[in-house]
Symmetry: D3
């Protein structure tokens, strides 16, 4: 009996309730999930404030708070590469083998499809609300961002002064 | 008797009738032409949809359809580098030796001029019309893009579903 | 109450019984262990035959077979960099935060010590026997390599024809 | 008696009177200054027109024209890296050791602070006026840019036709 | 009717009579051949003395001297990458599509086989004699190297003082 | 009246009395010297134990102890690149402009000569004795290495425990 693995790609800047919903869904359809922390090389940017180590820590906390069996989950950082056409090959090198890709991102879907893989949609509810972009926007605006993430993530972000870092990033003007 | 070679730089995303006109002109002035496929590392981007292998295939088809003697043409992929000032040196490493550079692109011209090379203009007719940007715009808008490229290029783009790929790229939103 | 994490660096080409002993020891002294899969970019080399994805799969199987609580373990691939002096910084970016480094490797120890971190020895028994070098040597010689690794690792290596790959690598002669 | 060194980061595209004021201030507070030429890999871009060699030449001329003792100054090119969180480590590898960082740039400040270093502000007068952005804007507009830089810098920029290069860069349209 | 393409990988340092024999054979079995100039980034090394541009020039001369129809040949430089497992993906990005791989090199064969491609042997006669290693050895020893390559290659190597360069490389001692 | 600059390339692992002799000679023939710290990206290796920052510090101390006017000297770190043929271009980007290259290293000489530059020999006395290889050998063997370097270099190496680092590097066995 072989294990069926689904691949789920996100940047997790930070992980939010939409990610949790997606992971729950995948674990109903598949035996195991490979969670790819994409764009892993970036941090300290407005749209990528957290390091891979911080994102891995948060994803682990999320799985724990959700009560998911950690043996069913693989967390794999994968960097972006400037040659998009080799990115699928990089994922295959860095990740345990997988059978199905779950993604709504058109380029990600296209790249896996061109490589001959099966790609499925991830049905998110309220996609505008549960998005990392909205979480970061609220962090900067001083609005209620904690409602969009799990408690363990919110606590962790505060323990590393994540909002302070994000605010410092808005004031940067590297091109002067 | 030494052979005179002209260097012609393009991205060929995809090759269009303007490129054909330029190559024809070069082959009147020079014995051989070195066709540099620039920005070679990029693919699956809105302004760089095709891989180097696909672009090389299309350029070969163009030369064939034009009836050009292939022994007079060298096709050389060259990646962009973040340090512009070493790019000329990279071209010289990757390409057969050349005598004159043909380019209208101001940065390309400047870099070759600072390196002490002779740079000439390429007289294009209807530059706004015969441009890869216009070809890609028409592809996305569902307009008559086939008129701007050679028949063999149009057929090839369709055989690899190039328009489908370009449309997938417009829907991508990597920064969420 | 804060969690104490120990960092353990290996290449896991493949994971062997010495690694298991080390992980067991760390988990007695620390709350959690960060297992760094070092030299993560390499594969299909005589001393690095397995990809990161394969190594991550094997380390997970080892933890499972040992009955270790997976919530106490973090698996983090980290590539080598040509500038050794920035490698510690890379580990810190890619891994969850950690308090103590466990390593017997003199360069690894030196780099972490120069960065001001606490470094401890890992007491291995029979270091010559339980080493990945010895496992690979036996694989190539047709000797009893399965005795040096956990059963789940041995089964996995066979399922991907790891010994066949290693033998192909011995016959390579790239410099001709 | 140990020497106290202050680190000062700039791109020096080109060095202007604001930089001079900052260096003067640092040399009052510290024994020596380490001048980091940041984003060292870039040149021939609109906001990075000059190579590192050219910028190093100009900074040396500035120190000479200011009458600063060159033994108190270290000039160190440091490239940008896509992983911001390792950049501080890169500076430490490339530069002589330093005690205090002087910077007004929010991201630079944040990165050094997260690494546990002391960061101080650089009080600039008329920051809008004495900026490299304003110098380059005036160069392109044909306005009085020489007033914003030291005479030796102005003469050097003219000797290498820096304004001509900058103008070539405005006309470039690489994405066609 | 689709065209059948065979892929042939070499480093061509320099192209020799064994390469010619292999290309002749491929063109009997396939419609077209994709000639990969491997390890394309290297030059000025004892085992990689020639640049990619020089090697491309020589391969073109060989095809011409052999009287091969150049429309049936594609010449594609591909660099080595440190992650062997993504190299096949790189070849696919840089080369026109291909159906069969011809190679005797065990690692090259293994990588293509693991990617699911058909790999065939290239029957060379006198492999020890017709090898680039032997050509370079003779060049350095002052022996009859011209016998092992085509006349056009021998003439070209002399025109760029290739033997002089190779000799300079033997005297280098970079590690002092 | 234009300034004449000579380029001098070394790795300075560490700077020794042979380097001092060479710099003295150059400053007799040229107005200024550009001292390239080559292989700048390496550190913590047996043949490259010191970081660029440490090497830059030592070279500055040497110039100071020799009583050389620092305005006549430029210190420029330049990394090795895997494509040797573009290295000269990299030096030209990173260094102030120069007129003559001084080097005894055959590959360095060849690369500059192929780029059309004037290259001169550096007459060293007792080249076997005054070499960084010999200094490092003595450090490891516990022999009198201080005799081969300037006092300020010897004191600096001791202040950073350079010999201790070198010894740690000999014990490393990364390939296990």
């Amino acid at each position: 009996m072989t294990i069926k693995r689904g691949l789920f790609v996100g940047r997790f800047q930070p992980p939010h309730l939409g990610h949790c919903e997606a992971i729950t869904k995948l674990l109903k359809e598949m035996d195991e999930v490979v969670i790819v922390i994409g764009s892993s090389q970036f941090s300290h940017e407005l749209s990528n404030p957290f390091t891979t180590g911080e994102r891995m820590t948060m994803v682990k906390k999320v799985l724990d708070e959700m009560g998911v069996d950690p043996r069913r989950c693989h967390i794999v950082p994968v960097p972006d590469v400037e040659t998009h056409s080799i990115w699928v090959s990089l994922v295959r090198t860095y990740a345990p083998s997988f059978d199905v890709v779950y993604s709504n991102e058109p380029l990600t879907r296209r790249l896996f499809e061109e490589a001959g893989l099966t790609v499925r949609n991830v049905p998110f509810h309220q996609r505008e609300l549960y998005s990392a972009t909205e979480v970061r926007r609220r962090m900067l605006a001083g609005e209620r961002w904690r409602d969009l993430v799990m408690k363990s993530v919110a606590d962790y972000v505060e323990s590393i002064d994540g909002v302070g870092r994000l605010r410092a990033l808005t004031r940067t003007d590297k091109a002067s």
